[in-house]
Subunit: 152 residues, 2 copies
DNA sequence: TCTATATAGATGCAAATGCATTAACCTTGG
DNA sequence: CCAAGGTTAATGCATTTGCATCTATATAGA
């Protein structure tokens, strides 16, 4: 018996849909931001995490855990954010290797502006296409594809 | 009345899940290919379309329609595929501007090898996580997020 | 304490991407 | 037939990404 193991047609279709749709939606959102003269989505992700973290800020490695960015990616993204005055790097007392990243007032403002556009994209691309109930079901099903699986 | 329009919590969650999960799964699949010493997923997409197109091949602009790649992206990807001997560019009779791209025997072989790994990833990451019925439901829901919406 | 190892983050270099433009060819209207 | 405009594909240049490595600090073990 050979090791064939081609996925089921249902699995292939779900995979293809997932990849296609996510890329398409992401590109639409990205395009809307660009059209508004705002920074790319990646910046939003980081600003969002930092805004939630509050005054305490976050260490770069914590951002890596929360987002899915690679280490060098975060390192350079933070450098750009700092150059734009959206975040600040503070030395951390008990660990001389790293620093804490804190969002600035300007960073919060940029995040607000981005959310105005990004949120609208989410509404148009997702919120307007499925009912609340259907959205919940999609979330639940996708959650089970996550690693580790999400219960809710 | 202000123009607030923050998306519903359900929409936000579905969006976040979609973005996270798709990136995570894509990266897993990509990693598996790399670990097997095979080319990236983008190559598979193109080889797949070309394999389906058969001996007639496809024009670059047709590949752009079928995949979601940008024009310059396809142009360079095809250059790399050609350099590796996986596709060949044939002049097209009635249009001197472009050429037809045809997959070579080596290209088919590479695609086969990639599918062995890629298919396994799909099975593990998706096929093994949800039932056939659930997969069908995910596909249907995601299809409605597509542009244009898919019926099935 | 001193050495080995682990962790945090930055960076040099090569490859890929995005953007704008260009080159080549086709089509259409006069 | 010719000019104007459209389509197909490639490419120069700047930015971004990926990989590997490197520096600096921290921690654990002899």
């Amino acid at each position: 018996m050979t090791e064939k193991a081609t996925p089921s047609p249902e699995a292939i279709k779900a995979w293809a849909r997932l990849m296609r749709v996510s890329r398409q939606l992401m590109e639409s959102a990205e395009e809307a931001l660009k059209a508004a003269g705002l920074p790319p989505l990646a910046w939003y992700d980081v600003l969002h995490e930092l805004a939630e973290a509050g005054e305490g800020g976050l260490r770069p490695f914590q951002l890596i855990e929360r987002t899915l960015f690679a280490q060098y990616n975060i390192s350079r993204l933070l450098a750009r954010l700092e150059a734009d005055g959206l975040v600040e790097k503070l030395p951390v007392a008990d660990d001389g290797r790293g620093h804490t990243i804190r969002i600035t007032a300007k960073g919060r403002e940029t995040r607000r502006q981005m959310w105005a556009v990004y949120g609208r994209s989410i509404t148009e691309l997702v919120g307007a296409k499925l009912s609340a109930d259907e959205l919940t079901r999609v979330s639940a099903l996708l959650g089970r594809l996550r690693h580790p699986p999400a219960s809710d």
